[in-house]
């Protein structure tokens, strides 16, 4: 096949890639987005829970991909005492449970309608470099290899990202900064359509078990386990099956789907751009290290990434210095929270089940409208002074 040229080459058509492509095209760039799968959004690798307050900001309209609008979240201590947070106090961490393949397809349609050219079954297999700068990628489309030359190449290739590493941007993650995940879609279970549920403690070392309701009696039941706490192969599966066995409301359910995957729970990367190259979404390790949610951050950063990519092309300057505008832009929007939540996660993964029980117990006394880190810590101090020591860093 013949080699090609474009202004912006986006590798990966997940939410981050489609948003980047759409906004680059809207700002006048010629954009080619390639996706190695044959179907965008499928197979799904996601719990499908997302907050919603950011959607309008980045130009995504609610659509048929919404399954359920939840009212809040319930956090279960190891002793199964529950703490309920409604949406306002969850910091909008919950909102919708979605049909992730439908969501991804909608974003790709939006991108295509903005003028983006989309190629399926087309994988990047190497990065093209000249004089130290990235000038495109070698791609394989339907088995045929050719080169795509572009002043800007965007790595939006998800958790399994190789583009960044090929380009020389360090994106390696440590085992303590990753969760290994498994999820079943289950029918005939006692999930509650009003809540996303989270179970903490040793049932999921360094992670949690989640129940996200899809419809009456239908839910995504999943687990994340910190890789550094995995003792035996397939622990994610072992722990999830054990949790289900112990909960009659789920043990009676039937599995109709299975999803695996990796989630980074790392601090933000030091660098996400280089000469001619930008990283976005999971490829840039933008997942929230506390919640494991990455859709919102990928889309928010994607809009900035696409906008700056088009500006760089128009200015004829795709240097790392020019692309700092993206680096600064996404950090201004999400870095502080990523860092704060990473610190919180680093603490949480060390807590014993008894401490979790005590914290959740103390939370019962905090009036919902007064839920703040300060009030939570005060409640813990009043009720269980013995565990306050563990939280000194946050005081």
């Amino acid at each position: 096949m013949e080699d090609r040229k474009t202004d912006v080459l986006v590798i990966g058509a997940g939410p981050a890639g489609s948003m980047t492509a759409k906004w680059a095209a809207k700002h006048g760039a010629n954009v080619l987005m390639i996706e190695k799968r044959q179907e965008i959004g499928s197979p799904v690798r996601c719990g499908e829970g997302m907050s919603k307050e950011w959607l309008h900001d980045v130009g995504i309209r609610p659509g048929r991909w919404i399954n359920v609008e939840v009212e809040g979240a319930r956090i279960f201590a190891p002793n199964e005492k529950v703490f309920e947070i409604n949406e306002k106090h969850a910091g909008n961490e919950v909102g919708y449970v979605v049909e992730r393949d439908g969501f991804d397809k909608q974003l790709a349609i939006d991108a295509a309608n903005a003028g983006v050219e989309v190629k399926l079954k087309t994988a990047a297999v190497a990065i093209l470099k000249e004089h130290g700068r990235v000038v495109g990628a070698k791609v394989k489309e339907f088995g045929q290899t050719y080169e795509v030359r572009a002043p800007i190449t965007v790595g939006a290739d998800g958790f399994e990202s190789q583009v960044g590493r090929w380009a020389g941007i360090p994106t390696n993650i440590a085992t303590r900064d990753m969760d290994t995940c498994l999820q079943y879609r289950m029918t005939n279970v006692d999930s509650d359509l009003r809540y996303c549920d989270f179970y903490l403690g040793k049932c999921a070392p360094g992670g949690y078990v989640w129940i996200f309701p899809k419809a009456e009696g239908l839910a995504n039941v999943g687990i994340g386990v910190q890789v550094s706490q995995v003792a035996n192969p397939a622990d994610a599966r072992t722990y999830l099956d054990r949790w289900i066995d112990k909960h009659p409301g789920y043990a009676k359910g039937k599995k109709i789907d299975m999803v695996g995957g990796g989630v980074s729970i790392s601090p933000p990367l030091k660098q996400t751009v280089g000469d001619g190259i930008m990283l976005v979404g999971d490829a840039a390790r933008m997942i929230d290290p506390l919640t494991g949610g990455g859709i919102a951050n990928g889309c928010i950063a994607g809009k900035i990434c696409g906008t700056v990519a088009a500006e760089a092309v128009a200015a004829g300057d795709v240097s790392k210095e020019f692309l700092q505008k993206y680096e600064k832009g996404w950090r201004a929007r999400i870095e502080e929270k990523l860092y704060r939540n990473w610190l919180a996660k680093e603490k949480l993964v060390t807590l014993s089940d008894e401490t979790f029980d005590k914290v959740i117990d103390a939370l019962q006394d905090v009036r919902l409208e007064k839920l703040s880190v300060h009030n939570i810590l005060k409640a813990v101090r009043d009720k269980h002074p013995d565990v306050t020591r563990e939280f000194e860093a946050f005081l």
Binding site: E160, M178, T180, C181, L182, V227, P233, A234, V259
Partner: protein, 63 residues
């Protein structure tokens, strides 16, 4: 390389769910996922066993 242990990724679909967890964490970036095909570069792999732990379903064996 006779001194290296053998690494086996069960990628015919009996175990592997093609999730990419191993690809993302391999410190040598030597595993490739092609929709429903997993390959790894025998020469680059150091048998560090990190991918074995990262796989949610136990599809990777080193022996």
């Amino acid at each position: 390389m006779p001194n290296k242990k053998s690494l086996h990724i069960e990628s015919s679909g009996q175990l592997c769910v093609y999730c990419g967890a191993c690809v993302g964490i391999c410190p040598l970036n030597c595993i490739y996922l092609d929709e429903t095909r997993i390959t790894f570069d025998e020469r680059v792999c150091t048998r560090c066993e990190i991918c074995v732990k990262a796989c949610p379903v136990g599809a990777i064996e080193i022996g």
